[in-house]
């Protein structure tokens, strides 16, 4: 492991980039991490991570590839924290009140990064240093958007596992949980059948209102007492499979909680480990929710937070901020239906979304906005973007899977989970990710060279 020795700093950021007369007529302190350990000072490129929905240290400590690449290419590395997450709360404890929360938008976050890069380059005497942005998941979306909207500031983007299509309402709402299911089915059809069977048994118990048996089987702290409680349990269980699929890395990790190596395989082994499907299902959920074995019972409403993101808003990330984003710009209307997937039917339609978001935040979602403002699938005029995706990742098919031009490059990582390529090298890495990182490294080196030439002629 290459210890990057990050320094934690704060940047005085404009509160509201888009209104000169709002409550945002001021500034806030935005956190960022920086290391010049590998930088060819004033000459090497700047690798800038466009922080996403969480504490920036979480991403910095799980994106070792960027550090390895910086060491190779002599780059300065900056990880910027997204406004309203981690310690970058514009209004402190009041940040999630209305109307204070209104300054949480994708556009504001991008403008933050544009302003921060511009000013830090000046401060660091780095005007000739090309900037490459990096991001995973929603952070990858932000990297794409930076290149689309600010090509004057960023020369290229590595967008790892960035679901820019599905979150813009382009695609099939059944895709996500179908692909979660496929991961388990690919281990063995018996595995997905067992999951399906277990959910079926739970459904029967719920229909009989045998709540005490449900409590016992799932080791709940408190017996369910309503269909709502059972719905919550189903959501919690479904989400365990989602997380195992997303985080199906070939070695154990501590990103978004603790995961064993190959969790999908471990999950399937557990699902098929004994005669009682419900016990197996409980133990499988335990891989995610009770990895250390510390919990003596499951608290339904603590372990999973239902919100405008059907994959939940809990588990260490800033739950409220992400809920707000899913209620406004980021469209996550995914469904399970027990036909194209192994889960109970759980729908989240645009109507459900609007009704929930109006109540919760006083906002009306704009399902078309990302298509209008961030181009949807119409990326023809863009350049210098890598769209990398792992085929184990249920988010993958919500992103760009085919290259659109010689500089809009899709990379498939066979056997890869959610932005595996951004993680540091590991002995257990499949050949596909080693190859992907090599391609990424080459493309980024090319972009940096091109941009250096260009900056000279400006």
């Amino acid at each position: 492991i290459t210890d990057p020795q990050f320094t934690e700093k704060y940047f005085t950021q404009i509160l509201d980039h888009f209104n000169f007369n709002s409550m945002g007529n001021g500034s806030f302190q935005q956190r960022y991490l920086i290391t010049d350990k590998y930088w060819k000072t004033g000459y090497g490129p700047i690798f800038f991570y466009t922080g996403n929905e969480g504490d920036i240290w979480e991403f910095a400590l799980n994106s070792g590839f960027i550090i390895e690449l910086a060491a190779q290419q002599g780059a300065l590395v900056i990880f910027a924290e997204h406004r309203y997450y981690g310690k970058s709360l514009p209004f402190g404890e009041d940040s999630f009140h209305i109307p204070e929360v209104g300054l949480l938008t994708v556009e504001q976050a991008l403008a933050d990064y544009a302003v921060m890069i511009t000013e830090l380059k000046q401060e660091l005497v780095a005007s000739d240093c090309p900037v490459i942005v990096f991001g995973g998941s929603y952070g990858g979306m932000l990297s794409v958007y930076m290149r689309l909207k600010y090509p004057n500031i960023v020369a290229g983007a590595l967008a790892a596992s960035a679901p820019i299509l599905s979150t813009a309402g382009l695609g099939d709402p059944r895709q996500f949980f179908r692909d979660v299911t496929a991961d388990f089915q690919n281990i063995s059809p018996e595995c997905s059948d067992a999951v399906r069977g277990a959910f079926g048994q739970l459904k029967e118990l719920a229909e009989r209102q045998d709540y005490s048996l449900i409590k016992e089987k799932f080791a709940l702290c408190k017996a369910p007492s309503s269909p709502q409680d059972v719905h919550q349990l189903n959501g919690l269980l479904r989400n365990a499979f989602t997380l195992m699929a997303m985080l199906d890395y070939p070695y154990s990790t501590h990103f978004m909680g603790d995961m064993p190596a190959n969790p999908v395989k471990v999950g399937c082994d557990t699902m098929l480990s004994g005669p009682d499907l419900l016990t197996n299902l409980r133990n499988t959920a335990g891989i995610v929710y009770n990895s250390t074995g510390e919990l003596t019972c499951f608290n339904l409403y603590k372990l999973f937070v239902e919100c405008a993101d059907p994959t939940g808003c809990g588990l260490g990330f800033n739950s409220m901020a992400w809920d707000y984003q899913a209620c406004t710009e980021i469209d996550l209307c995914f469904e399970s239906n027990n036909v194209t997937d192994m889960f109970p039917p759980m729908f989240f339609t645009e109507e459900d979304r609007e009704s929930y978001c109006t109540k919760r935040w006083g906002v009306v979602p704009r399902p078309n906005w990302l298509k209008v403002h961030f181009w949807g699938d119409d990326l023809f005029t863009a350049s210098n973007i890598i769209f990398s995706n792992g085929d184990l990742d249920p988010w993958a098919n919500g992103g760009v899977r085919k290259s659109l031009s010689s500089s809009l490059v899709a990379i498939n990582i066979s056997g890869g989970a959610h932005h595996l390529d951004l993680r540091g090298s590991n002995d257990a890495d499949p050949g596909s990710v080693i190859k992907a990182r090599k391609t990424e490294s080459q493309l980024i080196e090319e972009w940096v060279k091109m941009e250096k030439t260009r900056l000279k002629h400006l």
Copy 2:
């Protein structure tokens, strides 16, 4: 003249595109003009004028070239009114209160056009119809920005006399009034010398505090009584020359007031018409301020409104809205100094701007914003934009004068004033503008064809 028979309509527009929890959580009625007289229905392109700082009819009635081009190319024509101008006042009479005025930004205006185009295309069953944006002056800047930020929505832009560089703080603050001066000097050095001499005489009278003679010489309704009044008079006079230079068309026009044909020539003739320079100066100002001869005296503070735009905010355009824009995003810190130009020294520095704008609107201007957000002079990754400029126009050298690539085309119109090319054909047109329009027509036809091919393959 091709009568386009515009229909006036209103579009229900989102009040605040960038904050889901602001006072803007609602809509307003945005005016637009539309004509399908020449449209090959559902097939021909859409020519969309990105309205600027004024009543949209003013632009529609002075942009005949767009209509002529539509007739040639079978296009639908839309002229959209900019929010906070004309009848598109989001909060009616309260629109210029604080904080209501805060939703007047370039970004909101662009998002208005993006949303309007998207929805109108759907409504008109025109999804296969490429959109070309047109604009003059600030409207031309908006056309450029539309192509930069929304190439998914617009296939190309004709930006006529768009000072995207000077308004982004790139360039020399002396350029503007130097170029106004050059127009008069090019008629004859005696002309600019006479102007310089007249301003010198005025200065002497002011220094002697001979306010009654100033009143008499300039036919003022009320004698000046302070250096501030003399400053106002100088501003008013300087602005007469600015307007003659900008609107130096070879035939009489009724755009931003009434102008005779070749006003710079007429101005010079007037400046040199009699022995008394001050009388000549008054009569020259009268070309602009008293074209019909109706005024018996000049009201200093009515005829010219000093504001954050050193060329003034009055004369029919929405004075307050433009002042606000010049106080926030659009940087117009131009100076005259009596060395590089023929005018009295009148400075307007960034410090002056900040002090004025803080007092007037409670805002702090962001001089760097257009460079960060709209790329400044770093247009390398853009395409399909025509930057046309007339060399008589003092705004010209604040824009792009050299082609940057085969699809970022600068056109110089020799002997052309402010966006002459957008005006309808006229017998007095110089050959240069006829040629410019032909080039523009060909490029636009190409872009439309390319976009049609592209849309087919999406």
